[in-house]
């Protein structure tokens, strides 16, 4: 292998170019290798931030991994700046041996890597036709996470038989807390320090966060600093005032699993579709295991066709689906619906309202999302009323 060195002068005057040269305009070598890459100046995907959250640009993404800098955010007191050398995790309460672990300790335990989605349980917006997938349900993203199984740490501290719940507390300025059944800790909960191949990003909980595959985003406590085992839930603000919702004349609490959901991300507003062959693409996921099928309608729900699922189909993971579509130029409506391994099929908004009542609030809404295809190829969201 040879090196150009830093010594080469621009030895070649532009006037060298002759009239019978074979190709385009004058060609010059581009910049060489660098310490860190970046995006093409022609690509500018961004999250859509509000004061309390930011949404992933689902309509701009390809494949199943969300680039870490585009992962959705939901903070309750901003992003803390944490020195990883000083951060410790305390596990105490109904345990045999209360312990503190440094980040270094945590990294020495047997580790596991797992790709799964996160989704805020408040992830549904509606209202007008000119809404992007990002606006409608951009509070979901997917990463490859690496860390230690919580069960590994449970064994280390010794969980008392009656310790059916644990509190997870973050080191943000809201000291955010949630109560979690201990069984999830024994099942598949992790404490993760890696995201998409590198250290977890600050907005996702650097240096460590709790990962509860398939469970509502808020419970996956970021900047985790404390776990307390108990015989009962703590009834924190986040599981009472928030993350509960009216169902008929009751308030439903402890909805942990995210229900199966899907959305077509291509074509979707503001894209325009051209007549001829296109591929309908989108994401489907469920907090209850694997996606077993995604059906797509291209005729406003009259018929549904089986979409192709991108393999490998992972449990509790965004699953890419695709369906070939010949658009003949006529007005129509397209939509997707997912079925998961428990046999649950994504409902319409109407089905949800019918059961829960129009007053059902904004959590755990996973309705089928329809897109209107106009004659000029424009694609518009079809907002539906709750009444």
């Amino acid at each position: 292998q040879t090196s150009l060195g830093k010594t080469i002068q621009p030895v070649l005057p532009a006037s060298w170019r002759k009239s019978d040269t074979p190709a385009d305009d004058l060609i010059t070598p581009g910049p060489g290798p660098s310490k860190l890459g970046g995006r093409s100046p022609y690509e500018k995907p961004v999250r859509l931030p509000s004061d309390i959250s930011s949404r992933t640009p689902l309509q701009d993404l390809l494949g199943t991994i969300t680039p870490s800098d585009l992962h959705y955010e939901r903070h309750h007191a901003g992003v803390p700046n944490i020195d990883p050398e000083k951060h410790e995790l305390l596990i105490h309460g109904m345990v045999n041996k209360p312990m503190k672990f440094t980040l270094r300790d945590l990294k020495r335990f047997p580790s596991v890597t797992r790709t799964c989605f996160l989704e805020c349980s408040g992830n549904f917006r509606s209202g007008k036709e000119t809404m992007t997938a990002q606006e409608i349900c951009g509070l979901t993203s997917q990463s490859e996470w690496t860390g230690v199984m919580l069960s590994t740490l449970f064994r280390e501290v010794g969980i008392k038989p009656k310790a059916n719940w644990f509190l997870a507390e973050g080191a943000d300025a809201a000291y955010l807390t949630r109560s979690i059944p201990t069984s999830k800790g024994w099942d598949d909960a992790m404490i993760v320090y890696g995201q998409n191949g590198e250290a977890i990003r600050p907005e996702q909980g650097y240096p460590i966060r709790l990962l509860l595959p398939g469970w509502e985003g808020n419970m996956n406590v970021k900047w985790l600093r404390r776990i307390e085992l108990s015989d009962q839930p703590f009834m924190t603000r986040e599981e009472t005032s928030k993350y509960t919702y009216a169902v008929k004349d009751k308030i439903r609490q402890f909805s942990f699993e995210m229900d199966a959901r899907s959305i077509i991300t291509s074509p979707s507003y503001p894209a325009k579709v051209e007549p001829g062959w296109n591929e309908i693409r989108g994401l489907a996921w469920t907090g209850r295991g694997k996606v077993t099928k995604v059906e797509v309608t291209i005729d406003a729900g009259r018929t549904w066709q089986l979409a192709q699922l991108q393999e490998p189909v992972l449990s509790k993971a965004h699953t890419y689906f695709r369906l070939l579509w010949y658009w003949d130029g006529s007005v129509t409506e397209i939509a997707s619906r997912v079925t998961d391994e428990t046999g649950y099929t994504q409902p319409t908004l109407k089905q949800l309202v019918d059961y829960r009542g129009a007053d059902m609030g904004g959590y755990h809404l996973n309705p089928i999302t329809s897109w209107l295809i106009k004659r000029d190829g424009s694609v518009l969201f079809k907002p539906e009323s709750r009444k």
Partner: protein, 169 residues
């Protein structure tokens, strides 16, 4: 799946025992049965002063929704009527009074969380309970009385019993 050929040890000997003092300084949560509540107390009368000095800037003069005013923080005060409520508040929605103490102590005021004394937290909790028409103005709120406050909305709470499957609920 292939597995490690090294069996897992009973302990990895990583991390260290946490001291009682370490646990005490971090263990700030409060449970519905009162576990975690510190010494101290307060009433709505002193609590009103705390509220007006340290909370009103964001939550409004009294904590109630004010017509035409868009507050930067949630409404905290209402009546105790769940059905037909405009917003979820302590009075019409919160199931446990201990959660007020726990949340205010850990997270409020938003810009300087954990800056209140325990007495201030008791007092402002008393204020919010009274303003929401749940306790009397002279009720003394402390580790003993707070867990006994019965919240009006408590009776509406049910656990999600869905387990997947065909039904939409």
């Amino acid at each position: 799946p292939l597995t490690d050929t090294v069996p897992w040890p009973t302990t990895f000997n990583l991390g260290r025992a946490a001291t009682a003092a370490e646990i005490k300084s971090w263990d700030i949560d409060v449970s519905p049965n009162g576990r975690g509540l510190p010494a101290g107390q307060g009433t709505a009368i002193t609590g009103k002063i705390v509220y007006q000095t340290k909370c009103a800037a964001c939550h409004g003069k009294t904590g109630e929704a004010e017509a035409g005013v868009k507050l930067p923080a949630p409404v905290l005060v209402s009546d105790t009527v769940f059905v037909g409520r405009k917003t979820n508040t302590i009075g019409n929605y919160w199931p446990y009074a201990t959660t007020i103490f726990d949340y205010v102590r850990r997270a409020m005021p938003y810009h300087a969380p954990q800056s209140l004394t325990n007495n201030e937290v008791y007092a402002v909790t008393a204020y919010l309970l009274n303003a929401n028409r749940i306790v009397k103005a002279d009720a003394v709120i402390n580790a003993n009385t707070l867990p006994r406050v019965v919240m009006p909305a408590r009776k509406y709470y049910v656990d999600d019993d869905r387990k997947g499957g065909a039904e939409v609920k």
